[in-house]
Symmetry: C2
Subunit: 155 residues, 2 copies
Amino acid sequence: MKLAQMKTVEDAAPGVAHGCMDDELGFHLRRSQVAAFKHFGQTVTAAEGITPGLYGMLQVIANNSGLTQSALAEAMDVDRSSIVKVVNQLEDKRLIVRDASPTDRRSYCLRLTSFGRNELARIEQAVTAQDREFSKALSEAERHTLIGLLKRLYK
Amino acid sequence: MKLAQMKTVEDAAPGVAHGCMDDELGFHLRRSQVAAFKHFGQTVTAAEGITPGLYGMLQVIANNSGLTQSALAEAMDVDRSSIVKVVNQLEDKRLIVRDASPTDRRSYCLRLTSFGRNELARIEQAVTAQDREFSKALSEAERHTLIGLLKRLYK
DNA sequence: TATTGTTATACTCTATAACTATA
DNA sequence: TATAGTTATAGAGTATAACAATA
């Protein structure tokens, strides 16, 4: 096979020009976010069977134990109705439980099971390793600089 | 209305803890990218009727005139079949044309119409303004630092 | 009256597989 | 045989509207 015909993940579409998008932050945010999701899928999801979305939900529940589905929806900036399926999935995986609220019979208090806590501890290690691997082109100082700049985009 | 009950885009879900995700680059990439899409939608899409995805496609076609749908698919890192509807939409909006390829009767060469060029010139101004507005918390030097760091995440 | 969780429904984006017409 | 474009179909992920139970 000729060198010019070789196609790998790294050099796919090598010659495409992006014009003024090269100076647009939104364009690079989008590309790097897609790359991050893809990397997460190939590592964490492949090994642990959990998607970025489910992982984020699990962390918010873990760090805000007892919050309601409505509170989770607000925190994740999605509609209440969109939360139901996700909570079902986490419950099906025995990672969380819907506890009856002691003060409001309409709502549930979401909490990790002890199994869920163990699982999350293991998954966290995989995610941390994935995150460092994904950003291995940056020094630790640059990684923190990047995170600091990103945080300032959404206050 | 009491101050404690006020809900705005800026202070939604003020009290939610994110645990170790606060040090995960992927988490902040996701949040800032979602914020960027939302801002784009409220400004550019609202005024010009074009989504971030369609805008990106249009720019790639504009900057690589004559490329085929397969080449566009590879550049956008999506399947050939997913390109069809998008190209139809851009054609329906009279922004591009499918020209017959002079060398391969199976494929089309995608090109902007003169109307498309005019439209893109106008849309570009809206996108540039949107991008600067979205990143107004950063100085121009910081914005470029951020773009430079992001680029290093995907080659 | 308003809110919580739920369901039904729909819309967008994307992928896979199979088809056609070319190469 | 292989490739370019297309279609049918399916799966995430999301939203809106309406409902029952409860506040």
